[in-house]
């Protein structure tokens, strides 16, 4: 069994992906429950079948191969597959209590849910609060339950400023924070910068870290972010609306094709611009150039996959650059972003 299961598991990813892609809920659930019956460990089903398949789902969406609706449908089925696995295993809690929650504004709940279920399988008593947990609600929960640690998942770097507020609030009530998810950076450097008490790249690494007692019993808050003293982040967020409105007015003048856009296309452009602004704000908050240039690179790839020229990104960045006269840090980020977009 232990010899055959890795092979079985690797082969199952494509099969599983096909079923969730076809909105075949029962097929997907039957597949994982079948493997469970064959003796594949539940943790392996979560992390070696469902997690990689969901990563593929994200890639297929980014490449423009799958619609948003199909991606959402697949994720909804995976949520149920996870539930089906854990309901049939019914782990018994033997360890102390851990709270698991997604950052405020974070809707990508599945990776964090997988962590919660892995911890449950390993015997922790887990309170999973789900997606988009408002900070005040999380704090109330911590006071009421007094867990040994809180694990905060953040998939998108744009949620980092709010994740930071939540993280410091958790530390202020004396609960150490374990950070995880792509939003904290592939190497966890944003988790370090924001003063998290621990960081783990994957759900099983996070479970190991907790098991080995590598979190302190009482948190040590991080240094204050000295660069925020220039108020660029605060002012940019406050004036985001008017700045973007001016860029939206200027765009058609510099990119005449926009004059023929439908309302939906205009909304789409506004959305894209909003994303650029959100990542710019996050990069200002964290003070990390790569956070912004990686995003620009990714957006250009994404647009190209949808047949939109990446030139429009570079143009939007230049217009933003021109708008932000008194924001030297933001201008530097935008200049680096423009280079990345031109090179993309």
């Amino acid at each position: 069994m232990s010899v055959t299961s890795p092979v079985k598991v690797a082969g199952a990813v494509d099969d599983y992906l096909e079923r969730v892609g076809a909105a075949d809920e029962f097929g997907a659930i039957d597949l994982v429950l079948g493997l469970l019956g064959d003796g594949v460990p539940p943790e392996s089903l979560l992390l070696d079948v469902i997690a990689p398949a969901q990563r593929r789902v994200g890639e297929l969406w980014a490449a423009g191969d799958w619609s948003v609706a199909r991606e959402h449908g697949a994720t909804a089925i995976s949520e149920r597959a996870v539930a089906a696995i854990t309901t049939s295993v019914r782990p018994r809690p033997t360890k102390s209590r851990i709270t698991v929650a997604c950052a405020d504004g974070e809707y990508h709940a599945l990776p964090t849910r997988l962590l919660a279920e892995v911890l449950r399988l390993r015997g922790w008593q887990v309170d999973f609060l789900g997606a988009n947990v408002p900070g005040p609600h999380l704090i109330t929960h911590l006071h009421q339950t007094g867990p040994d640690a809180v694990a905060i998942g953040c998939a998108l770097a744009t949620r980092l400023p709010r994740a930071h507020a939540t993280l410091t609030a958790c530390q202020a009530v004396g609960i150490p924070v374990l950070a995880g998810g792509a939003g904290f950076g592939a190497d966890g450097r944003f988790a370090v910068k924001l003063g998290a008490d621990g960081w783990a790249p994957t759900a099983d690494a996070a479970a190991d870290l907790l098991e080995e007692g590598r979190l302190p019993s009482f948190p040590t808050p991080g240094e204050t972010l000295a660069h925020l003293a220039d108020e660029e982040y605060t002012l940019f967020v406050k004036r985001r609306g008017e700045i973007l409105a001016r860029v939206m007015t200027e765009l058609p003048r510099r990119y005449p094709r926009m004059l023929d856009y439908t309302q939906a296309q205009v909304d789409h452009t506004a959305d894209d611009l909003g994303h650029i602004a959100d990542f710019l704000a996050a990069a200002l908050y964290i003070d990390d150039t790569r956070l912004f240039t990686d995003f620009v690179q990714w957006t250009c790839d994404l647009l190209r996959a949808r047949g939109v020229p990446a030139r429009s990104v570079a143009l939007a960045l230049r217009l933003l650059h021109d708008e932000l006269h008194d924001f030297p840090r933001a201008r530097h980020l935008l200049a680096e972003g423009t280079l990345a977009a031109d090179g993309a």
């Binding site: 609706a69 959402h72 449908g73 909804a76 006071h143 202020a172 009530v173 004396g174 019993s217 506004a270």
Partner: protein, 511 residues
């Protein structure tokens, strides 16, 4: 005239050395003592050579104890012949430095204690902080026994180099430790108590702790409520408890007791709150054959998670009655009225299932309500799962949207007046009957969704047309995914600026 300098005579030099406050011992090249001044004799009454460490380099300083004095000694070499040893009594200086260090340690301890104890409002976390703080400066092992929550058992936390341990003891076992039962009862107030270590029952100390030298039971004084007791132990042969440490234990116990009792009160109140609010939270949706149901409710006031928006699915023998509504106002006050409307519906449903008639009955109930401005907007949908036929009534509420399996979105043609404002006879209701084909979805929502202000400029309203466009992209999705996607798009639009409750409820006829 020429000035002439005379070198002082040996007599004069000897007199100067003799009168110095520091001790001076002079030796010749062979190490034989040639001179011991008065101060040195004072400091070392016996053999003075015992304090001379000849292995020291010239210029080096070291400390050595003579009786209960502490001496600082410096070795110097003069020319090739003589070496001198300078002695200084630093007993008082060292004692002052020790006292200062101990004082600093105590201050630091109290600062750290204040930081950790003020953080949490959770009983267990406060008890843990108390035990972990005490098991360092104050004891080798520290145990907090919490006040009994129930009648029979009480929990404890213990910290030592073995780590943190937790457990429970029967309340009756507290009697095995003199003073503990009184401390747990919190009344009458009892002072700290030293115990004979042989009196300690096994459960009091970690396994393999070894012989105990000192054992202290200190009550944790709460603010009017018992906060438990702190048990401190040090090993035999370890440091004793001086007056300062005993005072520190008392001050620390007062702080820890205040923190724990505040946490106990908070826990009691939040438990009561949770029970009262539990009924006001969105209910878990029932499983209905032939239908997929999914709902989402986000309250504007985030700590309580309750507000004026509500939904419910009430099963009847003919099929479920689905309701979604919005009570005038926000927060707990609105949630209480929302709960009343849900309860009234549940009771009325025993006698009446027709949405229009139910609306008029609810209106009468609201008009008779003692609560001022009991205004409610409401959608009622009586569903027959077998053929997908739905009777709908809408009162002062946005009309539900219908998503056909092919992606077309229609607004249900039903409307009516707000409830709780005018007499039932005056209320105008235009009801509708629709049919859900397999794969079709009916979406009920509150105006918090469409009236969400945000977007690129932060000042734009989300609006019904954006909601319809978003819904149209959801064809073929399970109901749960539709609700999640719509809520996410709407929250992204708000970008954190939440001012109103938002509710979504989707009913999809299974394929």
């Amino acid at each position: 005239m020429e000035s002439v300098t005379h070198a002082p005579s040996t007599e004069v030099l000897r007199a100067i050395v003799e009168a110095a406050a520091d001790g001076v011992v002079l030796c010749d090249a062979d190490g034989a003592v040639v001179l011991v001044n008065h101060a040195a004799t004072e400091m070392v009454p016996g053999d003075v050579t015992a304090v001379l460490d000849r292995s020291r380099e010239p210029g080096e300083t070291y400390q050595t104890a003579v009786g209960d004095r502490l001496l600082r000694v410096r070795r110097e070499i003069f020319g090739i012949v003589h070496q001198a040893w300078y002695l200084r009594d630093v007993t008082a200086e060292a004692a002052r430095a020790d006292a200062l260090r101990a004082e600093r340690e105590r201050t630091q301890f109290l600062v750290e204690a204040g930081r950790r104890l003020s953080a949490s409002l959770n009983t267990r976390r406060c008890a843990r902080a108390t035990a972990e703080l005490a098991a360092g400066l104050l004891a080798d092992v520290a145990m907090v026994v919490l006040p009994p929550g129930g009648m029979r058992r009480t929990s404890w936390l213990r910290s030592s180099e073995a780590g943190l341990e937790e457990g429970e003891i029967p309340v009756a076992s507290a009697d095995q430790v003199p003073g503990l039962a009184e401390a747990l009862a919190g009344f009458p107030p009892v002072p700290s108590r030293w115990l004979d270590p042989s009196q300690a029952p096994d459960w009091l100390l970690p396994d393999g702790f070894g012989p105990v030298g000192h054992l202290l039971v200190t009550p944790l004084p709460g603010n009017g409520v018992p906060a438990g007791a702190l048990v401190l132990a040090r090993r035999e042969g370890g440091k004793g408890y001086d007056d300062e440490t005993e005072t520190l234990v008392r001050v620390f116990a007062a702080r820890a007791g205040a923190a724990i009792s505040a946490a106990v009160l908070y826990q009691q109140q939040s438990t009561t709150n949770a029970i009262l609010a539990g009924d006001l939270l969105p209910p878990p949706l029932p499983v209905v054959d032939g239908l997929e149901l999914a709902g989402s409710l986000r309250a504007a006031q985030q700590t309580a998670l309750i507000g004026g928006d509500f939904y419910d699915v009430l099963p009847t023998s003919e099929g479920p009655l689905v309701t979604l509504g919005d009570v005038c106002g926000k927060g707990p006050r609105a949630a209480v009225l929302a709960g009343q409307v849900r309860h009234s519906l549940r009771a009325l449903l025993l006698l009446e299932r027709d949405p229009e008639k139910l609306m008029r009955l609810i209106n009468r109930a609201l008009l008779g309500s003692p609560t001022p401005s009991s205004h409610v907007t409401l959608v009622l949908a009586a569903i027959r799962p077998a053929d997908g036929v739905i009777d709908l009534a809408v009162a002062g509420h946005p009309a539900p949207l219908l998503l056909r399996a092919d992606g077309t979105v229609e607004e249900v043609d039903a409307r009516g007046s707000l409830l709780g404002a005018i007499k039932s006879g005056m209320i105008v209701l235009r009801t509708a009957t629709i049919e859900l084909a397999p794969g079709d979805l009916l979406l009920l929502y509150s105006d918090g969704i469409t009236e969400a202000f945000g977007g690129t400029t932060g000042r734009e309203m989300y609006g019904a047309s954006r909601l319809k466009t978003a819904l149209a992209t959801c064809a073929g999705l399970p109901a749960g995914a539709v609700v999640e996607r719509l809520e996410q798009l709407n929250s992204d639009w708000l970008a954190g600026g939440v001012f109103d409750d938002r509710a979504l409820l989707a009913i999809r006829r299974s394929r």
